[in-house]
Symmetry: C2
Subunit: 228 residues, 2 copies
């Protein structure tokens, strides 16, 4: 079984999704050096010699956004085609991250050349992302859509407290569908452990004041909130 240990470079890349101005958007950075200089890419970088993979992903995220908490992060999958990086044999562990709209509180954004782009626009564009990042982005989108269905992950796109209407618009944005607000309200509010009610209400969405909720501690939605 043993034979040799050819050296690989190992990187992490992060697909950070958020909802901005009604679009599901992803954070991309412009590459400042070859290969693919000047092209948009997913934020990422080399894993350090003593660093865990998850820790590397968290670090990259913090370096690009200033965020160190308040987001969801999970491993997506690993990409290692022999020539995916022209410089050397590189394997990248891709992560999927979901966060609320960070428009306002971006602090430590050292990368001036970082930007949010609507996912749909990027995937439809003829200009491709660097490396195999288009493929990674497509896989991330698939994963995010699938997980909304059977986990409470949609709340990761919402602020600390949110209304049921805001939560519904997350589903509508990510799936590109429309959902009956009344039935959705019933399902969401009656699923035990999904939403934790607060005492407060808000009128920020217009109309009648809506109750504010916090994320529950649920792991799985069974049955799913809405059938795809």
């Amino acid at each position: 079984m043993d034979q040799s240990h050819p050296p690989f470079a190992v990187t992490v890349d992060v697909v950070l999704l958020t909802i901005r101005t009604g679009d599901l958007s992803v954070l991309v950075v412009r590459r400042g050096e070859p290969p693919y200089e000047g092209r948009w890419a997913l934020p990422g970088g080399f894993v350090r010699p003593d660093e865990d993979l998850d820790a590397a992903a968290v670090r990259e995220l913090r370096e690009e956004t200033g965020l160190s908490s308040g987001f969801h992060l999970e491993q997506l999958r690993t990409y290692g085609a022999p020539r995916r990086d022209p410089r050397m044999r590189t394997v990248t562990v891709a992560y999927l991250a979901l966060a609320p709209d960070l428009s306002a509180p971006r602090a430590g954004t050292d990368a001036a050349d970082a930007d949010w782009r609507p996912v749909a626009t990027l995937l439809a564009a003829r200009t491709r992302l660097a490396f195999d990042h288009d493929e990674i982005l497509r896989d991330a989108l698939d994963r995010a859509r699938a997980k909304l269905e059977y986990t409470p992950l949609a709340t990761a796109f919402c602020a600390d407290t949110f209304t049921i209407g805001e939560l519904r618009r997350v589903y509508e944005t990510v799936w590109g569908t429309s959902i009956d607000p009344r039935n959705f309200h019933r399902k969401a509010s009656k699923t035990p452990g999904f939403l934790v009610p607060t005492e407060e209400t808000t009128t920020r969405d217009g109309g009648r004041p809506a109750q504010l909720f916090r994320r529950g501690s649920l792991e799985l939605l069974n049955p799913p909130l809405t059938r795809g």
Copy 2:
């Protein structure tokens, strides 16, 4: 973003699950050298310099079982804790494979020290697998269980043709539950695209002859066949 490219070793490990004598079982190999010499481990090995990750997993599977087709294979996740391998910094890409009972047709099994062990026994045992393979096995079991629910993956445990009763016993074995045979029969046979009927029947399970089916080409089961 760039800094240095510390060298990593990259391996693949395969969790090959099958159903043998009524137990969900996994293929393990006995390590012939340090570290963890003499301990059971998941089959796996180093990715070759010009080899794709998926190809490496297929190769390992073939080396251990002689199988080169007729199984399901998907990437599970990647494990890269800094000291998971005492020899060097090693990242392993774990794969989940599902196959029918291979008791009979094992051909090129070069590894004399390979064996099938019931998953439940392994996870309950105080003797641990090598490296972090216990964790990988647990994750694989979780994934397999979850995917049975919303994909037609259960058929991967069945032979080329199979009865609905055999398929039901797959679910019962993997989940450790019992399912009403009559309701299951209805759901399975009425889900379009799930099962392809053949002209043949069999009495190999005893009782009245049962119709034989082949896997359909369906990707997703919606709604799920059985709620967990």
